[in-house]
Protein backbone atom coordinates (compact mmCIF):
# COMPACT_ATOMS: atom_id res chain seq x y z
CA UNK A 1 0.00 0.00 0.00
CA UNK A 2 2.82 2.34 1.02
CA UNK A 3 4.58 1.50 -2.23
CA UNK A 4 1.44 2.34 -4.17
CA UNK A 5 1.09 5.78 -2.54
CA UNK A 6 4.74 6.58 -3.04
CA UNK A 7 4.39 5.63 -6.72
CA UNK A 8 1.31 7.87 -7.08
CA UNK A 9 3.10 10.71 -5.30
CA UNK A 10 6.12 10.38 -7.61
CA UNK A 11 3.90 10.33 -10.70
CA UNK A 12 1.93 13.41 -9.53
CA UNK A 13 5.17 15.23 -8.73
CA UNK A 14 6.55 14.44 -12.16
CA UNK A 15 3.31 15.63 -13.81
CA UNK A 16 3.30 18.87 -11.82
CA UNK A 17 6.93 19.61 -12.71
CA UNK A 18 6.24 18.87 -16.38
CA UNK A 19 2.98 20.90 -16.50
CA UNK A 20 3.56 23.84 -14.18
CA UNK A 21 1.09 26.22 -15.84
CA UNK A 22 -1.71 23.66 -15.93
CA UNK A 23 -1.14 22.60 -12.32
CA UNK A 24 -1.12 26.26 -11.28
CA UNK A 25 -4.52 26.74 -12.93
CA UNK A 26 -5.90 23.63 -11.19
CA UNK A 27 -4.59 24.86 -7.84
CA UNK A 28 -6.24 28.27 -8.32
CA UNK A 29 -9.56 26.63 -9.24
CA UNK A 30 -9.37 24.33 -6.18
CA UNK A 31 -8.64 27.26 -3.84
CA UNK A 32 -11.50 29.27 -5.39
CA UNK A 33 -13.96 26.40 -4.92
CA UNK A 34 -12.84 25.96 -1.29
CA UNK A 35 -13.14 29.67 -0.44
CA UNK A 36 -16.52 29.97 -2.22
CA UNK A 37 -17.83 26.96 -0.28
CA UNK A 38 -16.68 28.48 3.02
CA UNK A 39 -18.23 31.87 2.23
CA UNK A 40 -21.52 30.30 1.07
CA UNK A 41 -21.66 28.26 4.31
CA UNK A 42 -21.11 31.44 6.35
CA UNK A 43 -23.69 33.33 4.23
CA UNK A 44 -26.35 30.70 4.94
CA UNK A 45 -25.59 29.84 8.58
CA UNK A 46 -25.22 33.47 9.68
CA UNK A 47 -28.75 34.23 8.44
CA UNK A 48 -27.49 36.84 5.97
CA UNK A 49 -29.08 34.87 3.13
CA UNK A 50 -32.48 35.27 4.77
CA UNK A 51 -32.19 39.05 4.69
CA UNK A 52 -30.59 39.37 1.29
CA UNK A 53 -33.18 41.04 -0.89
CA UNK A 54 -30.86 40.98 -3.92
CA UNK A 55 -31.59 37.26 -4.37
CA UNK A 56 -33.46 36.22 -7.53
CA UNK A 57 -37.22 36.56 -7.03
CA UNK A 58 -36.90 39.34 -4.47
CA UNK A 59 -36.98 42.24 -6.97
CA UNK A 60 -40.45 43.38 -5.86
CA UNK A 61 -39.56 42.91 -2.18
CA UNK A 62 -36.48 45.09 -2.56
CA UNK A 63 -38.55 48.14 -3.42
CA UNK A 64 -41.13 47.31 -0.73
CA UNK A 65 -38.53 47.33 2.07
CA UNK A 66 -38.68 50.63 3.88
CA UNK A 67 -35.39 52.36 4.28
CA UNK A 68 -36.81 55.79 5.16
CA UNK A 69 -34.90 58.92 5.93
CA UNK A 70 -32.59 58.66 8.90
CA UNK A 71 -33.81 61.19 11.46
CA UNK A 72 -31.19 63.35 13.08
CA UNK A 73 -31.20 64.87 16.53
CA UNK A 74 -27.98 66.41 17.72
CA UNK A 75 -26.42 64.66 20.72
CA UNK A 76 -24.56 67.83 21.72
CA UNK A 77 -25.55 71.37 22.61
CA UNK A 78 -27.88 73.03 25.06
CA UNK A 79 -31.18 71.28 25.77
CA UNK A 80 -34.26 73.47 25.77
CA UNK A 81 -38.01 72.83 25.89
CA UNK A 82 -38.12 73.57 22.16
CA UNK A 83 -35.50 70.89 21.49
CA UNK A 84 -37.53 68.35 23.45
CA UNK A 85 -40.62 69.26 21.44
CA UNK A 86 -38.64 68.82 18.21
CA UNK A 87 -37.34 65.50 19.48
CA UNK A 88 -40.82 64.29 20.44
CA UNK A 89 -42.08 65.08 16.93
CA UNK A 90 -39.22 63.10 15.32
CA UNK A 91 -39.62 60.25 17.81
CA UNK A 92 -43.37 59.92 17.22
CA UNK A 93 -42.85 59.95 13.44
CA UNK A 94 -40.41 57.05 13.72
CA UNK A 95 -42.77 55.18 16.03
CA UNK A 96 -45.60 55.60 13.52
CA UNK A 97 -43.36 54.15 10.80
CA UNK A 98 -42.55 51.19 13.05
CA UNK A 99 -46.22 50.61 13.88
CA UNK A 100 -47.15 50.45 10.20
CA UNK A 101 -44.73 47.56 9.61
CA UNK A 102 -45.99 44.02 10.29
CA UNK A 103 -45.00 42.38 13.56
CA UNK A 104 -44.87 38.69 12.55
CA UNK A 105 -48.47 37.94 13.41
CA UNK A 106 -48.82 34.23 14.29
CA UNK A 107 -52.16 34.02 12.46
CA UNK A 108 -50.21 33.69 9.20
CA UNK A 109 -49.08 30.18 10.13
CA UNK A 110 -52.31 28.61 11.39
CA UNK A 111 -53.52 25.37 9.78
CA UNK A 112 -56.39 27.26 8.16
CA UNK A 113 -54.19 30.06 6.81
CA UNK A 114 -51.76 27.55 5.31
CA UNK A 115 -54.54 25.45 3.80
CA UNK A 116 -53.68 22.36 5.86
CA UNK A 117 -57.26 22.21 7.13
CA UNK A 118 -60.04 23.28 4.83
CA UNK A 119 -62.81 24.84 6.96
CA UNK A 120 -66.07 22.96 6.49
CA UNK A 121 -69.44 24.64 6.67
CA UNK A 122 -71.36 22.36 9.00
CA UNK A 123 -75.14 22.73 9.13
CA UNK A 124 -76.36 24.54 12.24
CA UNK A 125 -78.36 22.12 14.43
CA UNK A 126 -82.09 22.80 14.14
CA UNK A 127 -81.77 24.80 10.95
CA UNK A 128 -83.24 22.03 8.82
Amino acid sequence: MKKFFSKVHRRVHQWVVANQLLSGIFAVIAITILLTTISMALYITSGASGLDLSRPGFDASRSAAQTGDTPTFSSTGKLTTKDIEAFTKLYNEQRDTLKKIGSFDDQALTDEALGLIIPTTEPVPGSE
Partner: protein
Amino acid sequence: MIERNCREAQRNLQRIQYVDPVTRVSRGNATANVIKLMSALNARASANTYNIPALVTATNNVQRIRQDFTDDYTSYEIGLREVVLMDCQANPVSFYRKLTEVRSKRAILSTHAKSIELELDSFSQHISDLANLVKDAR
Protein backbone atom coordinates in the same frame (compact mmCIF):
# COMPACT_ATOMS: atom_id res chain seq x y z
CA MET B 1 -55.16 15.21 5.80
CA ILE B 2 -51.60 16.62 6.18
CA GLU B 3 -50.28 14.45 3.34
CA ARG B 4 -53.08 15.65 1.06
CA ASN B 5 -52.76 19.38 1.75
CA CYS B 6 -49.11 19.84 2.69
CA ARG B 7 -47.95 20.84 -0.79
CA GLU B 8 -50.45 23.70 -0.74
CA ALA B 9 -49.22 24.62 2.75
CA GLN B 10 -45.63 24.65 1.48
CA ARG B 11 -46.62 26.98 -1.36
CA ASN B 12 -48.22 29.32 1.19
CA LEU B 13 -45.12 29.09 3.38
CA GLN B 14 -43.01 29.98 0.37
CA ARG B 15 -45.08 33.15 -0.10
CA ILE B 16 -44.43 34.00 3.58
CA GLN B 17 -40.75 33.34 2.92
CA TYR B 18 -40.78 36.13 0.33
CA VAL B 19 -42.69 38.62 2.52
CA ASP B 20 -40.88 38.11 5.83
CA PRO B 21 -37.43 39.46 4.81
CA VAL B 22 -39.10 42.73 3.75
CA THR B 23 -40.79 43.03 7.15
CA ARG B 24 -37.54 42.09 8.90
CA VAL B 25 -35.43 44.62 6.98
CA SER B 26 -38.04 47.39 7.36
CA ARG B 27 -38.44 46.73 11.10
CA GLY B 28 -34.65 46.61 11.50
CA ASN B 29 -34.21 49.99 9.80
CA ALA B 30 -37.06 51.66 11.67
CA THR B 31 -35.89 50.31 15.06
CA ALA B 32 -32.31 51.41 14.36
CA ASN B 33 -33.60 54.91 13.59
CA VAL B 34 -35.56 55.08 16.85
CA ILE B 35 -32.56 53.82 18.86
CA LYS B 36 -30.36 56.46 17.21
CA LEU B 37 -32.80 59.17 18.32
CA MET B 38 -33.10 57.77 21.85
CA SER B 39 -29.31 57.58 22.26
CA ALA B 40 -28.89 61.14 20.98
CA LEU B 41 -31.41 62.48 23.49
CA ASN B 42 -29.78 60.52 26.34
CA ALA B 43 -26.35 61.86 25.43
CA ARG B 44 -27.62 65.43 25.19
CA ALA B 45 -29.55 65.20 28.48
CA SER B 46 -26.51 63.77 30.20
CA ALA B 47 -24.23 66.50 28.80
CA ASN B 48 -26.66 69.07 30.22
CA THR B 49 -26.58 67.26 33.63
CA TYR B 50 -30.21 66.09 33.45
CA ASN B 51 -30.34 62.64 34.92
CA ILE B 52 -33.29 60.43 33.97
CA PRO B 53 -32.11 56.80 34.40
CA ALA B 54 -35.43 55.44 33.06
CA LEU B 55 -34.62 56.89 29.62
CA VAL B 56 -31.26 55.10 29.53
CA THR B 57 -32.85 51.87 30.80
CA ALA B 58 -35.54 51.96 28.08
CA THR B 59 -32.89 52.60 25.39
CA ASN B 60 -30.73 49.71 26.62
CA ASN B 61 -33.77 47.43 26.73
CA VAL B 62 -34.75 48.27 23.15
CA GLN B 63 -31.17 47.56 22.01
CA ARG B 64 -31.15 44.24 23.86
CA ILE B 65 -34.54 43.16 22.49
CA ARG B 66 -33.48 44.18 18.99
CA GLN B 67 -30.42 41.94 19.27
CA ASP B 68 -32.57 39.04 20.53
CA PHE B 69 -34.99 39.68 17.67
CA THR B 70 -32.11 39.51 15.15
CA ASP B 71 -30.83 36.20 16.56
CA ASP B 72 -34.30 34.67 16.79
CA TYR B 73 -35.18 35.78 13.26
CA THR B 74 -32.18 33.84 11.90
CA SER B 75 -33.35 30.72 13.70
CA TYR B 76 -36.93 31.24 12.46
CA GLU B 77 -35.79 31.82 8.88
CA ILE B 78 -33.67 28.65 8.86
CA GLY B 79 -36.61 26.65 10.32
CA LEU B 80 -39.02 28.06 7.72
CA ARG B 81 -36.62 27.19 4.91
CA GLU B 82 -36.38 23.60 6.18
CA VAL B 83 -40.19 23.25 6.32
CA VAL B 84 -40.53 24.55 2.75
CA LEU B 85 -37.87 22.16 1.41
CA MET B 86 -39.11 19.04 3.28
CA ASP B 87 -40.69 16.12 1.47
CA CYS B 88 -43.89 16.53 3.45
CA GLN B 89 -45.83 13.76 1.71
CA ALA B 90 -43.20 11.20 2.64
CA ASN B 91 -42.75 12.55 6.21
CA PRO B 92 -46.00 14.22 7.28
CA VAL B 93 -45.35 13.79 11.00
CA SER B 94 -41.92 15.41 10.97
CA PHE B 95 -43.28 18.10 8.64
CA TYR B 96 -45.99 19.02 11.15
CA ARG B 97 -43.54 18.84 14.08
CA LYS B 98 -41.17 21.19 12.28
CA LEU B 99 -44.06 23.50 11.37
CA THR B 100 -45.05 23.68 15.05
CA GLU B 101 -41.46 24.66 15.93
CA VAL B 102 -41.53 27.42 13.28
CA ARG B 103 -44.83 28.70 14.72
CA SER B 104 -43.26 28.97 18.19
CA LYS B 105 -40.27 30.81 16.73
CA ARG B 106 -42.59 33.25 14.91
CA ALA B 107 -44.53 33.78 18.15
CA ILE B 108 -41.23 34.74 19.85
CA LEU B 109 -40.60 37.35 17.11
CA SER B 110 -44.09 38.75 17.66
CA THR B 111 -43.40 38.96 21.41
CA HIS B 112 -40.14 40.85 20.75
CA ALA B 113 -42.00 43.33 18.52
CA LYS B 114 -44.55 43.91 21.31
CA SER B 115 -41.81 44.26 23.95
CA ILE B 116 -40.09 46.93 21.85
CA GLU B 117 -43.40 48.82 21.64
CA LEU B 118 -43.75 48.69 25.44
CA GLU B 119 -40.22 50.01 25.96
CA LEU B 120 -40.88 52.82 23.47
CA ASP B 121 -44.06 53.68 25.40
CA SER B 122 -42.03 53.81 28.60
CA PHE B 123 -39.45 56.10 26.92
CA SER B 124 -42.27 58.39 25.73
CA GLN B 125 -43.62 58.69 29.26
CA HIS B 126 -40.23 59.67 30.64
CA ILE B 127 -39.61 62.32 28.00
CA SER B 128 -42.16 64.44 29.87
CA ASP B 129 -40.10 63.99 33.09
CA LEU B 130 -37.10 65.37 31.22
CA ALA B 131 -39.21 68.25 29.84
CA ASN B 132 -40.26 69.12 33.42
CA LEU B 133 -36.62 69.11 34.61
CA VAL B 134 -35.61 71.39 31.71
CA LYS B 135 -38.55 73.71 32.45
CA ASP B 136 -37.65 73.91 36.18
CA ALA B 137 -34.00 74.65 35.40
CA ARG B 138 -34.85 77.79 33.40
